[in-house]
């Protein structure tokens, strides 16, 4: 028997780690991974809430989040590749101009 709040706290911790990664990491790929971490944290809370309310739609939502994450990864990584091609860096602190 695990209280729901444990799962939520775990989810919150993971989410906070993701935000922290976004705030502190310089590498754009790592930042992107932090986003994935946040999505995973949210997924966990979806599944936890699904368990609490006995509604499978919570788990269905996770699938949609995954689909979005997959699409996002495909496009995002393509963007990262083209950014790297044009700027020769993956450091977001150096990628602060829209126009070269």
């Amino acid at each position: 028997m695990v209280p729901l709040s444990y799962y939520l706290v775990l989810s919150a911790i993971l989410f906070a780690c993701g935000v922290m990664g976004f705030l502190l990491k310089r590498n754009i790929i790592t930042i992107f991974m932090s986003i994935e971490l946040m999505l995973n944290a949210v997924n966990l809370s979806f599944v936890a809430f699904a368990s609490q309310w006995h509604a499978l739609s919570g788990q269905i939502f996770v699938f949609f989040v995954m689909v979005v994450a997959a699409a996002e990864a495909a496009v995002g990584l393509a963007i990262i590749i083209s950014v790297y091609r044009t700027r020769d860096t993956l450091n977001v602190d150096r990628v602060n101009l829209l126009k070269l």
């Binding site: 935000v19 976004f22 705030l23 502190l24 310089r26 754009i28 930042i31 977001v92 602190d93 990628v95 602060n96 101009l97 829209l98």
Partner: protein, 662 residues
Amino acid sequence: MNSPNLFLWLIPLLPLVGAAVNGFFGRSFSKKTVAGVALLFSGAAFLLALRVLLSLASLTFPYVEPGISWIRSGTFHVNFAFYLDQLSLVMLMVVTGVGFLIHIYSVGYMWDDDGFYRFFSYLNLFMFFMLMLILANNYLVMFIGWEGVGLASYLLIGFYFLKDSAAAAGKKAFITNRIGDFGFLIALFLMIQHFGSLDYQKVFAIVSQLPAETVTTGVLTAIGILLMVGAAGKSAQLPLYVWLPDAMEGPTPVSALIHAATMVTAGVYMVARSHAIFDRAPTALLVVAIVGTLTALFAATIGIAQTDIKKVLAYSTVSQLGYMFMACGVAAYSAGIFHLMTHAFFKGLLFLASGSVIHALSGEQDMRQMGGLRKKIPWTFWTMFAGTVAIAGIPPFAGFWSKDEILWRAYSQGPSKIIWALGLLTAFITSFYMFRLLFMTFFGEYRGKLESGEHGHDSHGHDSGHGHGGIHESPALMLVPLVILAILSVGGGFINAPKFLAPVFQTEAIASGAEAHALTATGVADEAADKSTEFRLQLSSVGVALLGAFLAWVLYLKSPHLPGQIADSLGGLYRTVSNKYYVDEFYNLVLIAPLIAMSRNWLWKGIDQGFIDTVINDSAEATGDAGGALRRMQSGNLRSYAAWLTAGAAVVLAYMVWLGVH
């Protein structure tokens, strides 16, 4: 009632189509095509109007043609519907008939003008609006026409817009009319507020239930006076007449059509149309009578001293319009409309003839430069002579019948005999200055510089207005309308318009207590006595007309040096009259100059520059500063964006927690 379908909606629409065709495509048309289009559509409108007249026997008045719904707001409805009774039928015939004739005339008159297509587009547009005004079923549609003719008038007065004076005259007409329209609009608002409708039949039905405001004044009086303000603007009555003389800057056919025959009479038409309201507001009616009488006299005196042939006619128009209002003011609406009709004939004729004179003299308008033209342009002379006699009121010409009707009614049912007396005086002055015009133009020696028509082929007048050398008779295209109008001026008086119009005003008059009294007292009991009185009045009016003519003959033919001596002896008075009583200067000093000063110093420099501009500039600057400050947020650094995002999320969550706690 199975009245035939009159296709009333088609009558205004045809000129609109003509205007659109000429306006949009006229530039690439040949002049013949333009003229053809304009004449086709205005002629078709005239034919439709004729068809209405011919089916008169089978008509039951008022005939209402249901139009389309325009405004629906709660219980307030306005339809685009058309309304026909004897009154609008008379107007319809005048507008389409005279309008069509002037269209024909204009083809000849304007042939050499570059803006040929533009002119006819405007002219057709004017026809459209004027017909809307006449055929409207309610005050709002009438107001559309009312504004529209103002617009057309503005466009046509400023037709030669490269000329400063023409552009200024157009603006003057437009702005002066706005003052009148303001009164009209307020009257409409009052009607909506108190009667809940603008529909003629509904409004009059409600009004006829109200008691006459004989002792007190109230809504009806207010509406009446405000309507009169509107009419004064449109029909050039005191104190808003000042635009009409200036409007003579427009081409002469315009002066004939708009500023003599039709548009300026819209005010008279409107007052007559609203007679149900005026019948119950004696105070308003009195105002109408006083304004009309004073205008008639005032404008006539100015007319004496004018030297510009068109200006004389313009003041004459103002004066004659005053007559019409005088008639309306003594509740003799049918007499007013009768005069309106005859006036349309003879004043239209006079303007066209003066146009012909000007045309013959290649643009000369000053009568002092004319003289002795009788032999050179005989057609013009004879038609103009007919017009002059008609306006002077010499039987059996048209003007006599209508003017006499007005004077007789003013005498018999007016509030005071002074009105009649002033009317008679005006008739005398009218006769005088009209014959002065005739004598100065056509008799005596030619005083102008232009060579006479016989030698025209080697003249030096090529650079002048119409490109013709010498004095020459106008083309047939211009003379035909002149002749037709001359015939109408001669015989128009025999049309018994008052009797025809009687049903419109009769029914109302009987319902009204005040009118009933007048009717029973004068109309039935003392008919025999009235006949003799009327005859005596007719004699007196003919007498003053002949007297005026004689005086003119004495002063301008027999001893031409006398006017100068008289003018000298009168001195200041003459100068005053000659300068139109300095009314324009007075308005300028009292109204326009302070207005401009206030606009400049207070509205422009104070409010616009000092307040509005400051507010706008300061807010723009503040926006710019705020943007400059906020720009630092947009550093392009992804991580700082994330920080702001996190801060925002924290704030939102804090708020939600706070909400949850409370």
